[in-house]
Structures are given as C-alpha cells and as structure tokens.
C-alpha cells in the first residue's frame, strides 16, 4: 500500500510541476498577477508531494518490503538501519527521486527566501525550475519507477546494498553532491528568466549570487567527500582517479567556480553580462551532462549505475531541450554589443577575466578528455581510454598558472589599477613566499623541487591575503576595530582562497612524498616505512552485522613509542558473497598511516599487505572544507539582507510587472 501511495504522490508532484512550468510563465507573459502569484504555492506543493513520495520509498526500505524491486535488489534484512536508509539513494531509481526532491527543495527555498524579488522575475525563475522538475519527474515515472513491484514472486530476502556503499561517507556524499548539482539550476533559472525578460543588469547577478555560492559550496563538499571516501574505502590509497563519473561532478564545479567569480564582476561593475549568463547555462548543463554520462552507459566507470539505453535516450532528449533551448534563447536575447563600461588591463576585472579563462579552459579540457573515448569510438577510430596522465598534464599547469595571479586579485582595484601599486603591496609577501619555499621543504628529509614550488605558490597566496586583510582593517592602528569593518563576503573570499592554498600544498606534498610498500607479511613480521615500524601482530576472525571479516592487527611504533594500533579488515558480505577491503588509517595533520589487506598468500598465514605513508593528504580535504565554508560565509553578507528590506516595497515589483 505504501509504495502505491508513494507512486501516487509522485504523479501529483508531476502534475504540480507541470502547472508550475506553465501557469506562472503564462502569467508573466500576459502580465496576469494571479497566475504569477501561484508560483510560490505550486513550488511548495510540489515539494510536499515529492517529499511524501520519498518518505514512502524510505519506509519501504526500512520495513524490508522486498516486493518493491529496488528494495529487493539494493537492501537486505541484515543491513543496519542507517544503510537501509542510505540504500534509498544507492541505486538509479532512488537517487533520481533524491535528485527531484532536492530540486524541489531549492525551488521552494527560492520561493520562500525571495520576497524581495519582483513577482515577474520570481514567477519566471520558478517556472523554469518547474520545467526542469517536469523533466526529472517524468524521467522517474516513465523510465525509472522506484515503486515497481516484484509480484507475485516476492523474494524472501534482498540482494544487499553494494558493500562499497555501506559506509558513513556514502550516506551524505550523494545528497551533498546533488545539492550542488541541482543548486546550479537556481543560477540557471535566474539566467533564463533574465534572458526572457530582456533585462540583463546588475540586479539579476545580485539575486543569483548567494544561491550560486551556496550551490558551489555544497558541490565542493560533495566532491571532497567522494575523494575522501575513495581514499579510505577503495583500499589503495588513491584520492582522485579522473574517472568519468568523478569528472562529471568536477566539470560543473570548474564551470561553477568561473561563474562565482564572473558574477562578482557583473554585480559590481555590470560587465561580462552575456558571458556570465553563458556560464550559468554551462554550469547547469554540465550537471545534466553528468547525469547523462552516469546513467546512460555511454562511458565505462567504476561508479556507473545499472544502465539502460532507453534511459540514456530520455536524458539526451531532455538535455537537448534544456540546453539547446536555453542556448537558442541565449543566441537570440543576450546582449551582443559589448558594454560601454571600460576597464584597463591592469585592474581587478582583467584578473577575474583571467580566472574565467583558466577555469573555462580547465572545464573544456576535462570535458574533452572525458568524452574522447566516445568521440573516437563514434568516429570508428578504435577504442581508447584517457587516463590520469592526460588530465594531470593539462590540469596541473593550468592551476599553476592560476595561483600566481590569484594573489593579485584581492589587493587589486576595480576599473584601473597600477603595477606600481601592486609592486608596493606585494613586495613583502613575495619575499616571504620565496623564503618559505626555500626553507619549509627542508623539514622533510629530501628536498623536492615540486613541493618547493607548491609552497612558493601557496605561501604567495597566503601572504598576499594576509597583506590585504592587514591593509583593509587599517593596519595596527585599526586593530581590532578594523576587523569588524570587513564584510562576511570578504572573509568568505579569504577563507576560500586559503583553502585553495592548502589544497595545493596537500596535493603536491602527498603526490611527491608518499611512500607505498606492497609486501607479503606473516604475523610477527615488521616493516619500516618512513621511520614508522609496522608490526603485524595477528589475524583474527571478526563478525559484523552482515559480514564476516579477517582482521589483521598492526602495532605502529616510532623510535620505540607506540603511535597507533591499526586493524584493517577483509570482509566477506553474507548476502552477496562479495569481498571488500577495509583499510585502517591513523590520521594526522602532517601524515596519514594507511594499512590495507590484500589476499592471503599460501598456507602459512601470510598476507599481501599494503603499507602507506601519506604526508599532508588531509590538507586538500581541509582546504576544500575551507573553500565551502568561505562560500557559505558570503551569504551572511548584509548586502543581500539590506537589499531585501529595501526592495520589499511593491513599487519596485510593480515597476517590473508593468
């Protein structure tokens, strides 16, 4: 009964989405205030029914209702309750429903938190989001019904959730990622609404900026969690593989990063208007493209969902309508004439333009590398796979190009600046950075030129920021009063840029200094990695809720002092019989120690063991968290709130609605 209720609620949500896509848009066209005013209500109604539907599916999972096909193939009665819940989105149908739910959440959030928006704009924005929801809800209903039953032969138990997904990180990774992906639909909807209204001014940038920053922050966290999960769960200590599905989430992030910066120029200076609109369309289009790549089976990936050409065709048509439609609109309505506002080459505008170019080139190279196997296959030129060497070869230099320029950004002035001033501002930070680059890598045993370069770039960034914060609060005279003068959006920028600096150091240090030992070990043996002595104590049998495991116990000492006890496992899951490696990690600020079990070797109780020493690997995740927090902080800015109170007057709204 409950699954049918869920299905029915999904149908109602679909009807509401259809109404939302049509009625307010019609109202905006005919200037019908009643039709436009329906938009927020429809948005909330849509959310309520998708939420009901989602709850019904979750209940089916929690109650082990194996008559429901997705429950039978993705859950098991032995599965811990929390994983029964996360199994809801551990499959194609359920994750699609989660996608729709999050889309409805964003739509309702726009409806609720935008009283300052002119009704005309609001109704257009919500209509566009409604149209996107129509696409996804019909995708669910027509090709991927999560409530399909297995009747009359109900399996006695389920197939179990893929053991790789039975992990705390994976409970929140997809929702965060989807919050980011789908969040870009808000920027997209604002861009389309602006194109429809023909008014591409600073105000649409101001309205969509906080939404874009929040979506970007979620996407950053989502990608970071995915990388962290790959690191500890896949068992070979890698944290980024340039896998097509990773790239699918990374491309919207890159485009989104360009968008976040471009919006700043459009808001503050009214420049780059067409460009910013195009980036907003890009960011969301790449989210949709990611969905297509993951769910259509066009590319091979370790992540791919069970794929089906019919689903692929559906998303492709949907993609063609949304992206094609918006690009047609863009071509017809975007301002073709460049703005009369000018800026000199030495100014903040050009620095941000540089940022945009770098991120766009990065997006396109990742896109090209990801789709290259498809291109050559479609042209009948054979089968290729593009691996990390390509991506690293193009991506690393791009980021290395970006970092030196980044330090100029915060110090620079809009419109016109002078190189003289930059020199005066950044001379000291530059010297400090060079000194850091020479000295800091000496802490490690062997001096590494790449690490030195990474330290140089990030120290340059950090010192530049410090110089700027000091300058803005008015030097020592202004302390601490000056601190309060700085706005949340400024602090957000500082935090995000610091996070980026931490990422650079973390990525380079861990790639250069990591030590891996793959060896055969028997209980009682020891191995020394980077000064840490790993002693293999014993192997024990352990029983988990739905698995049996061989657990190796290691004692790690350094100079005779106990550092950690590590217990990696080799698990055999009961329902599926699949075997999973569970690495054991001793985390630290400056180094991680990582032990994973391979296969048993011979009869003598020996195992293939993998020991890793990973310096500063955490820096990139902490850096990513900083970036995300920075983006969240910008939303606290009074600028957006003040704007709200002054713009709630209907005069502004009616002026637009005229």
């Amino acid at each position: 009964m409950i699954p049918e209720m869920g299905h029915f609620a999904l149908i109602i949500a679909f009807v509401l989405a259809l109404l939302l896509a049509v009625v307010p848009a019609w109202g905006a066209w005919r200037r019908n205030v009643y039709a436009m005013a329906l938009a927020p209500r429809l948005a909330i109604g849509q959310l309520v029914f998708v939420a009901i539907s989602f709850t019904c599916l979750a209940v089916a999972f929690l109650q082990d209702d194996f008559s429901v096909a997705v429950v039978a193939s993705n859950s098991n009665s032995l599965l811990p309750a929390i994983y029964k819940f996360s199994a809801v989105w551990g499959n194609h149908e359920g994750s699609l429903l989660l996608w729709s739910l999050i889309l409805c959440l964003w739509t309702s959030a726009v409806a609720v938190f935008s009283p300052q928006l002119p009704l005309l704009v609001l109704s257009r924005v919500l209509s566009v989001m409604g149209a996107v929801a129509v696409g996804f809800l019909s995708f669910s209903l027509l090709t991927s019904n999560p409530f399909a039953r297995l009747l009359p032969s109900i399996p006695p138990d389920g197939n179990d959730l893929n053991p790789l997904l039975q992990d705390p990180g994976l409970i929140i990774h997809p929702p965060l990622l989807y919050m980011g992906y789908v969040g870009f639909s808000v920027a997209f909807a604002f861009a389309i609404a602006a194109l429809l209204g023909g008014r591409l001014d600073a105000s649409w940038a101001r309205w969509s900026r906080p939404w874009t920053n929040v979506a970007w922050a979620f996407l950053t966290l989502g990608i970071m969690l995915g990388s962290w999960w790959a690191y500890y769960e896949l068992g070979w200590g890698g944290w980024w593989f340039w896998d097509p599905v990773e790239n699918a989430s990374f491309m919207p992030w890159l485009a989104g990063t360009a968008l976040v910066h471009s919006l700043a120029v459009t808001e503050k200076r009214g420049l780059f208007k067409s460009w910013t609109v195009l980036l907003a369309i890009f960011a969301f289009s790449l989210s949709l493209l990611g969905t297509f790549l993951v769910r259509s089976g066009v590319l091979t990936s370790v992540h791919a969902f069970a794929t089906d050409p019919a689903r692929g065709m559906f998303i492709l048509v949907f993609l063609a309508i949304v992206v094609g439609g918006s690009l047609v609109l863009y071509a017809l309505r975007a301002p073709a004439v460049s703005s009369r506002v000018s800026f000199s080459w030495v100014s903040r505008e050009s620095l941000l333009l540089f940022n945009n170019v770098v991120f766009l080139v990065a997006t396109l190279t990742v896109l090209f590398g990801t789709l290259f196997p498809l291109f050559v296959d479609a042209l009948g030129m054979g089968k290729y796979s593009v691996g990390p060497p390509y991506f690293n070869a193009v991506f690393v230099p791009l980021m290395a190009l970006l970092a030196p320029v980044m330090a100029f950004g915060p110090v620079s002035r809009w419109k016109r600046d002078s190189t003289q001033r930059w020199k005066a501002e950044l001379l000291v930070p530059g010297i400090v950075a060079v000194v850091c680059a020479i000295t800091l890598p000496l802490v490690h045993a062997d001096y590494n030129i790449w690490v030195a370069l990474a330290v140089l770039l990030s120290a340059w960034l950090v010192c530049g920021l410090a110089r700027d914060v000091w300058f803005r609060m008015g030097g020592s005279a202004g302390f601490p009063r000056g601190l309060r003068r700085l706005t949340p959006s400024y602090w957000g920028m500082v935090l995000a840029h610091l996070g980026f600096a931490a990422c650079i150091v973390g990525v380079v240090a861990t790639s250069q200094y990591s030590i891996e030992h793959d060896l055969k070990m028997s209980p009682g043996e020891t191995d020394v990695v980077a000064g840490y002595e790993f002693r293999f104590l014993e192997v024990a049998q352990v029983r988990g809720p739905n698995y049996l495991a061989d657990e190796a116990r290691f004692e790690v000492t350094r100079n005779g002092e106990l550092v950690a006890m590590l217990a990696p496992q080799k698990r055999r899951y009961l329902a599926s019989g699949s075997v999973m490696t569970e690495a054991a990690i001793d985390p630290g600020v400056f180094r991680d120690l990582f032990v994973a079990m391979g296969e048993p070797i011979g009869e003598g109780g020996a195992w293939a063991i993998r020991l890793h020493y990973k310096p500063m690997v955490r820096w990139m995740w902490v850096g990513s968290i900083f970036m995300a927090l920075g983006a969240f902080a910008t939303v606290m800015d009074k600028r957006y709130r003040r704007q709200r109170s002054s713009a709630t007057s209907t005069a502004h709204g009616t002026e637009y609605a005229r």
Partner: protein, 179 residues
C-alpha cells in the same frame, strides 16, 4: 549582425556534442576488442579445478566453445551464473577459467549454485588471464573449433548479449566447423 552570429557558437558546439552523445548511446564501451581476435587461443598448462589433472590447450580445443573467466570474489559472476547454467542446459559448450581464486571457494560455489562448465581451468596466479588480456571478471571468449579466439565480451553474458551478439556468431562458427 556579425556580433549576433557569434552568440550562436555555443549552440552549434552543443549540437555537435549532442550528435556524438546520440551515437554513443548505440555504442557499447564495454565491448572491447581483444588483441587476440582471430589469433590462436594461448598455449597453457594449468591444473583442472578440484583435481591434480593438468589441462592444456589441446584438451579444451576441437569444438566451438565459450571460455568464461569467473571467480568467487566477483559479484557480477554470481549474477551471470544462472544464465550460463541455462546455456549449458541448451547444449552450449562452456569452459571455465577460474581466475585468481581459491580452489575450495570455487568448488563450494559450483556445488552450491550448479556447474555449467565442461571443465574448469584453475588459473590461480592469473597467468592465462594475462596471456588472454583479461580486463576483469566476468569475461567471455568465443573460440572456434580450430582454437582461434573469435570474439571477446567484457561483462555479464545475459540473454540480451547472448541472442544479439554471441548466438549469431556461435551459430555461424558451428556451421563452418561442421560444414
């Protein structure tokens, strides 16, 4: 006018991309050619699963057969297994290559789930797999009566794969072998 035309550029690029994606839907990225296509099946000498008898290329050639690479650690193999049993029942000759596996576990699996294989080559170290260019399990090679590899399928063999890809080739090879 010229400035307006420039704005159509993203649309055109997207159109090209969409055409590729459309074409991609009808391609299967998992369909991987093997370096061994139309080349002889590699020579080997490995124990048969669950016994001391040695198997070599001669003992498994002479008829059109499928060589299925499988292992107990491979989840998809479990999915594939019932359909292989069904094919064996229909009289299709299937040899197993038990790939990087433990004999005891593999024998237990066959006892529990049924044995569709004429014989199983125990490739414990993966040496035969290396010669074949095995990418992962499951994989299935179609070998003709002369011992030539004629097709390689990466992934699960199910009814769709069998009827659309393997069966036509299988019938054709059968015809050649007997005619």
């Amino acid at each position: 006018m010229h400035a307006r035309l420039k704005l159509f550029l993203p649309l055109i690029l997207f159109g090209i991309l969409a055409l590729f994606l459309l074409r991609g839907l009808s391609l299967d990225p998992k369909e991987m050619p093997s370096a061994l296509i139309d080349k002889p099946f590699p020579e080997f000498s490995l124990p048969a699963l669950g016994g001391d008898a040695k198997l070599d290329k001669a003992s498994v050639s002479g008829r059109v057969a499928l060589f299925n690479v499988w292992a107990t650690w491979c989840v998809s193999c479990r999915v594939e297994h019932p359909y292989l049993t069904e094919l064996a029942r229909q009289g299709v000759a299937i040899y197993g290559i038990n790939y990087k596996d433990e004999d005891a576990a593999a024998l237990g699996w066959l006892q529990q789930l049924g044995d569709p294989y004429i014989a199983n080559i125990a490739d414990r170290e993966g040496t035969l797999g290396l010669d074949l260019g095995v990418y992962g399990a499951p994989e299935t090679y179609l070998v003709d009566a002369q011992g030539m590899v004629r097709y390689r399928h990466v992934g699960v063999v199910d009814e769709r794969v069998w009827t659309t890809v393997l069966l036509p080739l299988y019938t054709q090879l059968k015809g050649e072998g007997e005619g």
